[in-house]
Amino acid sequence: MATRMKAKHQRLTLALLAVAALIGAALLAMSALKDQAAYFYTPSDVGRDHLAPGRAVRLGGMVTKGSITKLPDGVTIRFLVTDGAATVPVRFSGIVPALFKEGSGVVADGRFDATGLFVADQILAKHDERYMPPQVAGAMHKSDSIETGPKAKALK
């Protein structure tokens, strides 16, 4: 009986050590991935990382209020994407998702041209984590919630 108990304890120690090693390895891998696994660049990254024109990148941030303008051809829009610290101009021809609007989150696929304009070939709307009925939203929306919310602060 005594030897059986000992074997059990040995297995328990071994298994706990294996779990600890596993967690350590996973944490190392994740911290190494940290920058590579980001789904998009923010406007601040763009200024810092000097993304080469013509390279396919994804840009994410908030659509600046009052910045969406329609060009005369009727299908092209221009707007500004900001993360609070930096701003990037974007041009896009095509259909935008229903939730794409000023003051809310956006992720654009595309590339920079030589002048620093981001030419998007796909626009995705980024939804935030707040869910509420229209009546509640009507009362709250007067204050500029998304740009001043905890998410925007966390981005900086």
């Binding site: 298994a15 596993l22 789904y39 935008v96 939730l99 935030d128 984590e129 869910y131 509420m132």
Partner: protein, 238 residues
């Protein structure tokens, strides 16, 4: 804990518990669906698509909880060698995989009108897809590794190693910039308005009970299979 590791005692408890879990889960899910589909208001931005949440979020939780259960049972199997823990881990794999698949499918259906895309390779979506693949791998391994102690141990090690993906899924929206929104529901607070939130815990509890009922059913089936096999073997050698 050890008292219930005896298969005979387990069966005498599992039999009535299966019905309680199954019916309890069915009632809770019915209430949550009526609440979520008919009573709660629509969302100010998403409109009616917000109702997908009542299926999507509990499925995501249960898909992850299923693997946490596999990992815990695998740990118990490796350390204490209970015959029942290997059965429990195997029984959790299929319902867990189905929940993960429901989570991915419902999320995709929600993403098309909300984000404008069915699928994007961001951190949250990719790590959840990896979970589904881990489940499929687990099921294949459990079926092919054999029922001897060695084969079961390999399956258990895989079950424990796969748990590494769980914190990755959970923290993906915090560690990395993702298309998927951040966490709405914390332990003490939620950014979902109360009028929209209330069916969600009911659905989550209902999905959990249903998961429990299916796991108990599958454990009983696996135990019955083992009994049949043992008897056949005895007959063949007699």
């Amino acid at each position: 804990m050890h008292r219930f590791a005896n298969p005979a005692r387990f069966l005498s408890i599992a039999r009535p518990l299966t019905a309680w879990f199954g019916w309890g889960g069915a009632v809770l899910i019915a209430v949550a669906l009526v609440g979520g589909l008919l009573i709660t208001p629509s969302d100010y931005l998403q409109g009616q698509t917000v109702r997908i949440m009542y299926v999507h979020v509990p499925s995501a939780w249960l898909g992850m909880a299923g693997w946490a259960g596999i990992a815990a049972a695998s740990f118990a199997q490796l350390v204490w060698r209970h015959p029942l823990s290997a059965v429990a881990a195997r029984a959790m794999a299929t319902p867990g995989a189905v929940y993960a698949a429901i989570c991915l499918a419902s999320g995709s259906i929600w993403g098309r009108p909300t984000w404008g895309t069915w699928w994007e390779w961001d951190g949250r979506l990719t790590s959840m897809l990896v979970l589904l693949f881990l489940y499929i791998g687990y099921i294949a391994l459990a079926n092919s590794a054999g029922k001897d102690a060695g084969g079961q141990r390999i399956t258990a090690i895989y079950g424990m190693v796969g748990a590494v993906n769980l914190p990755v899924i959970h923290y993906s929206v915090l560690w990395w910039r993702t298309l998927h929104q951040g966490q709405s529901i914390g332990l003490t607070s939620s950014s979902i308005d109360r009028s929209l939130l209330w069916p969600l815990p009911l659905a989550a509890l209902g999905f959990t009970l249903l998961f429990g009922a299916i796991v108990l059913m599958r454990m009983r089936a696996l135990l019955a299979d083992m009994k049949v096999e043992a008897r056949m073997k005895r007959l063949a050698t007699a």
